[in-house]
Amino acid sequence: MTFGFAPDIVRLWKKHVSKTDKTGVRLMKLEVNQVGKRFGNRTVLGEINLSVRAHEFVCILGHSGCGKSTLLNMVAGYLLPDRGAITVDGQLVKGPSKARGMVFQDHALFPWLTILDNIAFGPSVQKKPKAAAREIAMQYLKLVGLEQAAASYPAELSGGMKQRVGIARALASQPDILLMDEPFGALDVLTRETMRVELQKICSQLKPTVLFVTHSISEAVYLADRVVVMKHGEIAGIFEVDIKQPRTSHSAGFGEMMSRIECVLMDDAQLELVAKVGT
């Protein structure tokens, strides 16, 4: 399944993402400032400092339970930090907003709406007339290569197709930042690979700012400009990935980057084992 070239959307997005302020500085910068979060007496996030530039693709990588999803949910505005502040362009994040689009692991499509109406949901709640909203939705559907499924319901689609719709739906309201919470986590390995390639293609066309949570090292290295490794509620390391896109696992430096990240992710017992067994 390939996705269509969608010049209209690309033009729209170029205009959208190149919004600048009076001094010509590109707007949109996400700042996470000394953010901490506790659930009861369990500390989920210690003290997180992170800043994301415009057009940057940042992957947050870590084991399950390391607080990466909590951090993403706070950026989305679903959870509020106990300490510190999250700001976008200096504006404090106080709740969910269309400026921060979310793609969920369980895709969270509305089961009673057709695929087209699912994607049109964003434009239509933002007071676009119905026909216009549908037209926008159709363009995004073409972008993810699913125009023939426009009239189907989510229950009739495969996991990978649902997630494409999820991505198209998030993009259709033109968010400043696209947040993705393990979007390919529920997919099989083969579908994951194709979805990865397609997401990379979409990003190279539209150049959105993306914060992507995953527990797959190869996925992070494949997609990210920068990989943020989290461990026990703290940032354990940040890696700039400057391998030229499009990447494959055979790209120069790919394997090396993966093993460097793996070392940070492993706990002490595993490291001892590696030392004992040798290389």
């Binding site: 509305f110 089961p111 964003g122 709640v125 998030a170 309201s173």
Partner: protein, 303 residues
């Protein structure tokens, strides 16, 4: 009755491929062709609506009643044959009693059921939107809800007299409780990711309610409506048995007073038919509203 009807309606969409060609082919060349075709049409009609079990039921009843009339296992008046019932129904229909009773019952159940559903959805919405309403309402509902509505009828009659009002109130009340319980449950079990994604797409709180909470509570509401339909029918019949002068329930009481058992049977069968019609209409609504829903055994395993 209706239970048996529904699955076959689904099948009706796809013609029974396996059997149809068999019947079309002239298996026995000695049979004249037109008769064969007519036969095929008949059996296909029976199959389409799954009428055979119902037909057989009435045939056995008829035979048994006639047998009983001759050997007198018990008083033949206690179980009149369906053919006698049809004659009696025709007589009643001609006198206009039947149509009048059906109309009276239908109007009562329609008004009562709709009022009950609307009130339940309204209160359900308030309960899920305002915590205070839920806090004050649910203990009282837990207290009053389990009381069988029929126990309230004599009280309603004393309070409101024997007119239409206490009857409709009783039907509305029996509808109200299950629909409310299911609807509130529906509002509570909306997946949080759906609400989150709507918010992230720019929906206001009102839009989240109208476009996410309401549609995802509809399946639950429909289950509640189906559950309460049976209950509200019994409320209808009982309320017509006490202090009424029209309706199908009234026919039964009247027939008991004059020992007209055939009339009783006619009314009973009509109640069953009317309930089936209502339940079928509700299922049609359900199928229309929930076209998006897949699942169940039929989709789980292909046979």
């Amino acid at each position: 009755m209706n239970e048996a009807k529904l699955p076959t309606m689904k099948e009706a969409a796809a013609p029974p491929l396996a059997q149809a060609p068999d019947q079309e082919q002239p298996v026995n060349p000695t049979l004249p062709a037109p008769r064969l075709r007519a036969q095929g049409k008949w059996s296909r009609f029976l199959q389409k609506y799954n009428l055979l079990p119902t037909l057989l039921f009435f045939v056995i009843w008829e035979l048994f009643s006639r047998l009983n009339a001759s050997i007198e296992l018990f008083n033949p008046r206690f179980l009149p044959a369906p053919s006698v019932l049809v004659q009696e129904a025709w007589r009643l229909a001609e006198s206009g009693v039947l149509l009048e009773s059906i109309a009276a019952s239908t109007v009562r159940i329609l008004i009562g059921f709709v009022i009950g559903c609307v009130a339940a959805v309204g209160i359900g919405v308030l309960m899920s939107k305002f915590r205070l309403v839920e806090l004050w309402f649910s203990p009282i509902l837990n207290l009053v809800g389990p009381i069988p509505a029929l126990a309230l009828l004599p009280l309603f009659i004393i309070w409101f007299g024997i007119g239409e009002f206490p009857k409709i109130l009783l039907i509305a009340w029996t509808t109200f409780i299950p629909v409310l319980v299911y609807t509130v449950d529906g509002f509570k079990s909306v997946p949080s990711t759906l609400i989150r994604s709507a918010l992230s797409l720019g929906a206001s709180e009102r839009q989240v309610f109208m476009r996410v909470m309401l549609p995802s509570a509809i399946p639950n509401f429909l289950v509640g409506a189906q559950v309460s339909l049976g209950l509200s029918f019994s409320a209808l019949i009982v309320s017509e048995m006490m202090g009424a002068d029209s309706g199908l329930g009234y026919i039964i009481v009247d027939a008991r007073n004059y020992f007209k058992i055939t009339n009783m049977f006619v009314a009973i069968i009509l109640i069953g038919l009317e309930y089936s019609l209502f339940a079928y209409a509700l299922r049609l609504v359900e199928r229309r509203v929930m076209a998006w829903r897949k699942g169940g055994l039929r989709d789980a395993v292909e046979k």
